[in-house]
């Protein structure tokens, strides 16, 4: 058996190191390390509760709106305030724009460049993949980055700027949208649709979201241009459906709530396909292998105290568990819990894997583009965007949202008008968690086992696909 270290693991958000035990050319055991600790939970302690709206989003520059909304959700409970219906819609539009931008960034900038690597030079498909997706030089980035920047102009209208906005308040959003601005939002949404229909899918979005079986997907992609079909062809050539199998349990906190409920519902999906209600009171965080002092397992009661010298620890990330089990979160989980037909069928066929994670993200991108159009239309321009309220009450409060990478929770405890404790469990804390006290490995640690490395060792590109298929956000992970 040999042990190899892979790092710096780049083209993810933040810092990552992976250690692998290799037996007969395959990964026998993986340890995932988040090598950065900043201490946001400690920084928040003792502050006025509303300061969380400034501090918490700055955990992450790639999903700061998600962090804002989680903080605002917990504060909304503490203040006992409702959100103006327009504020809900404006928040949804901005949040969906951020999540769609994340999916674009992941696909074009982080994930696809691996197929352009020299390791695949002998493959028939390599020339086209290299022309299109080579990191910083491929033709795709020249289209994707301007499309991303244009999509993020939604933030200029609704949120003032991105990343790190204070527009997302417990009572709504801070800026009433006028008619001219709604027209601008429409134009931005149309431009995003245009990019997706021309470049990513080469088809109408309505046709993409209507795909409901693997057979339909196969027929749809035959002879089709567009980067999604390009990915599907490479995924088949490399059998990416057999790579990076997840642990089985999939979770979603539910996302984009409006007067009709949630656009994506909350729940937990077992490996037999059953979807059940989310037992959110059974979320715990284990620190047995994290450089952290022991504390309560319950995030509502725990504190974060680093201990860099702790024996047997190997990550700044704690190990979140649901009813004692590691769970996978992200677009695949969100779509599965919501019962999206194509994703449900793909999961039934071959489970959670590298290919299905990417498919779920791109299908979701198409859905979000359509939802954004609907929410812009639903704005009632002459009504308020923000309701205001008084002070925060003392007590324990929770804000649960879905970031692009999955379920994000903020647990806030207020005492005497100050933050007594603040605990954050981010999506990648779930996916990239270290082992727990029972020795159970986190989802990525499980998904890496069995991956072939052959003679390439630490340079094995299969490892890169598995890790990046989760679209990890390491700056959120240990925060």
């Amino acid at each position: 058996m040999t042990r190899i270290t892979v790092g710096p693991f780049n083209r993810v958000e933040g810092d990552l190191e992976v250690r692998l035990d290799i037996e007969q050319g395959r990964v026998a055991r993986a340890e995932v390390t988040a090598p950065l600790y900043r201490g946001f939970e400690q920084i928040l302690e003792g502050r006025p509760p509303l300061d969380a709206l400034v501090i918490a989003p700055r955990i992450c520059g790639i999903c700061s709106v998600s962090q804002s909304i989680a903080a605002a959700g917990a504060l909304r409970q503490a203040m006992g305030v409702a959100t103006a219906p327009n504020g809900v819609l404006a928040t949804n539009i901005a949040h969906a724009a951020e999540n769609a931008a994340d999916h674009l960034t992941h696909f074009y900038i982080f994930f696809m460049p691996d197929f352009a690597r020299e390791a695949y030079a002998s493959q028939a498909w390599h020339g086209a993949a290299a022309e299109r997706f080579t990191a910083t030089k491929g033709s795709a980035a020249r289209e994707a980055l301007p499309a991303r920047a244009r999509l993020l102009e939604i933030m200029g209208v609704i949120a003032g700027k991105w990343p790190h906005s204070l527009a997302f308040q417990p009572g709504g959003t801070t800026r009433a949208i006028e008619l001219g601005e709604r027209i601008r939002l429409n134009a931005i949404a149309a431009s995003f649709r245009g990019f997706l229909e021309r470049v990513m899918f080469a088809d109408k979005l309505e046709n993409v979201v209507a795909l409901s079986t693997p057979d339909e997907l196969d027929r749809w992609r035959d002879g089709r241009g567009g980067d999604f079909a390009h990915f599907l062809a490479v995924a088949d050539a490399l059998s990416l459906a057999d790579l990076g199998k997840g642990p089985g349990l999939l979770m979603s906190f539910g996302a984009y709530h409006d007067s009709d409920g949630a656009r994506f519902r909350a729940g937990i999906r077992a490996s037999n396909g059953e979807v059940e209600a989310l037992p959110s009171d059974r979320i715990t965080e284990d620190v047995s292998h994290a450089w952290m002092r022991e504390t309560s397992l319950d995030p509502a009661e725990s504190r974060t105290v680093p201990d860099a010298d702790k024996a047997d620890a190997y990550s700044w990330c704690k190990a979140p568990r649901l009813a004692g089990q590691p769970v996978e979160v992200g677009a695949l989980a969100r779509q599965a819990v919501d019962g999206q037909p194509l994703i449900t069928a793909l999961l039934a066929a071959d489970g959670s894997n590298v290919r299905n994670r990417v498919i779920a993200r791109l299908i979701e991108t198409a859905q979000l583009a359509l939802s954004i159009e609907g929410w812009i239309k639903a704005l009632r321009l002459n009504e308020p965007f923000c309701l205001n309220s008084g002070d925060t009450a003392d007590g324990n409060f929770v804000g649960l949202v879905e970031a692009a990478r999955g379920s994000l929770g903020h647990w806030l405890a207020v005492r005497s008008g100050r933050i007594e404790r603040y605990q954050i469990i981010a999506p990648t804390s779930w996916n990239f968690s270290p082992r727990d006290a029972g020795g159970i490995a986190g989802p990525l640690e499980q998904a890496l086992v069995g991956t072939e490395v052959g003679a390439a060792g630490a340079r094995a590109v299969g490892i890169q696909h598995v890790v990046r298929s989760f679209d990890p956000c390491m700056v959120c992970t240990a925060h």
Binding site: T5, P8, F9, R11, E13, G14, D15, E17, P35, L36, R38, G39, F40, I43, E45, L50, D51, L53, I55, G61, I62, S64, T105, I109, F110, A135, T136, K137, A141, R142, L145, P146, A149, L152, E153, I154, M155, G156, I158, A159, G160, K161, W162, P163, H164, S165, L166, A167, T173, T174, R175, A176, E178, P306, A308, P384, F385, C386, N388, A458
Partner: protein
């Protein structure tokens, strides 16, 4: 041009960061940031978010630069330098190297022609340095507003410049790109930096300049709660009259800014902004905001405020506490304005 020999070689590292500065600069350039860099003669030798090379390929590159086998023109850091615990830097190891970012920076910074801190974390410590500063986070050459930081007060890069601080949280993509291009053109000298190492083409302005709420400011017609249209300084914590930056003279994300977005400037370009509390509430003494414009005598400000408040047109006064325009501009005597 004979390729890499004449290209400016830029290495971008991330310390204790959120990645937000990178997310911001990825918005730069009409045909994308990568094209813009090439067109500008900048060779991005490695960037953790976007480059192909990973793992030991990167370690090889960093060692080659450290050992003088590869040239380094621009060293860019995003994120604070986490020196803890106990100056080991172990809160922020550079993965795959068994060495902290802090110690890598001590090795690499003296080898670069120019060292650039993007964002207030790399410049002054930023948000990770807030509160109890759990990781002993500092900026490259400042610790809050005190010169020093990770590299020390006397540090100068190979071309004789201190660290260039493109402050902001996150900075405007234009601030970062224009600073990098000014350096590659040789246009940014020590004289073009202010006392906190910020390029003066940004720092010679206040965030207040060009604010769309200026008419409300002039008449001291103030918003009282979030989402109202009036000036945000009197009640809602706005520090735009004290914070440097041409924030309101540029468009953020196609047309925004913090104050256009309806919330206060929190002075994110200023060292130590992370130490403030109650960001969206104006601290007052005897009913007068504590944080008045720095270069104006307080008595004058109070006298002028009283005078301008007494002359506030009804349109401005009414609109200040509304979330939509209630009274449109009109000639005096126009029936609709009465």
């Amino acid at each position: 041009m004979d390729g890499s020999g004449t290209m400016t070689r830029m290495l971008w590292l991330q310390g204790a960061s959120c990645g937000g500065c990178t997310m911001s600069i990825l918005e730069s350039g009409a045909s994308g940031w990568f094209d813009e860099l090439r067109q500008s003669g900048i060779d991005l030798v490695w960037h953790p978010s976007v480059s192909e090379q990973t793992g030991d390929e990167v370690v090889d590159l960093l060692e080659a630069i450290r050992d003088g086998r590869e040239r380094l023109d621009l060293l860019v850091l995003e994120g604070s330098v986490a020196r803890g615990p106990g100056l080991t830097g172990r809160f922020n190891m550079l993965a795959g190297t068994n060495r902290s970012i802090y110690h890598w920076l001590l090795d690499l910074a003296p080898l670069a022609d120019y060292v650039v801190a993007v964002g207030s974390c790399a410049a002054y410590g930023g948000i990770p340095a807030a509160g109890v500063n759990p990781t002993d986070a500092v900026g490259l050459q400042f610790e809050g507003s005190d010169v020093g930081g990770a590299l020390g007060a006397s540090f100068r890069s190979k071309r004789g410049l201190p660290v260039i601080n493109v402050a902001g949280c996150a900075p405007h993509p234009g601030w970062m790109m224009e600073s990098l291009l000014a350096l590659t053109n040789g246009d940014l000298t020590a004289r073009e930096l202010d006392g906190f190492g910020r390029p003066t083409f940004i720092a010679n302005h206040l965030a207040h300049h060009g604010c769309s709420r200026n008419e409300f400011y002039e008449f001291k017609a103030s918003a009282e709660t979030m989402s109202e249209r009036g000036c945000l300084m009197e009640h809602l914590g706005c520090r735009a009259t004290q914070a440097v930056g041409d924030c309101n003279q540029r468009s953020w994300n196609g047309g925004g800014s913090c104050t256009k977005g309806g919330y206060a400037c929190i002075a994110c370009t200023s060292p130590g902004f992370e130490s403030a509390q109650n960001y969206l509430q104006t601290a007052k003494l005897a009913g007068i905001p504590v944080g008045l414009p720095t270069d104006m005598p307080k008595a004058w400000f109070v006298a002028l405020a009283a005078l301008s408040k007494s002359a506030t047109p009804r349109r401005v006064r009414v609109n200040a506490t509304a979330d939509h325009v209630v009274v449109p501009p009109s000639r005096s005597g126009d029936k609709r304005s009465s």
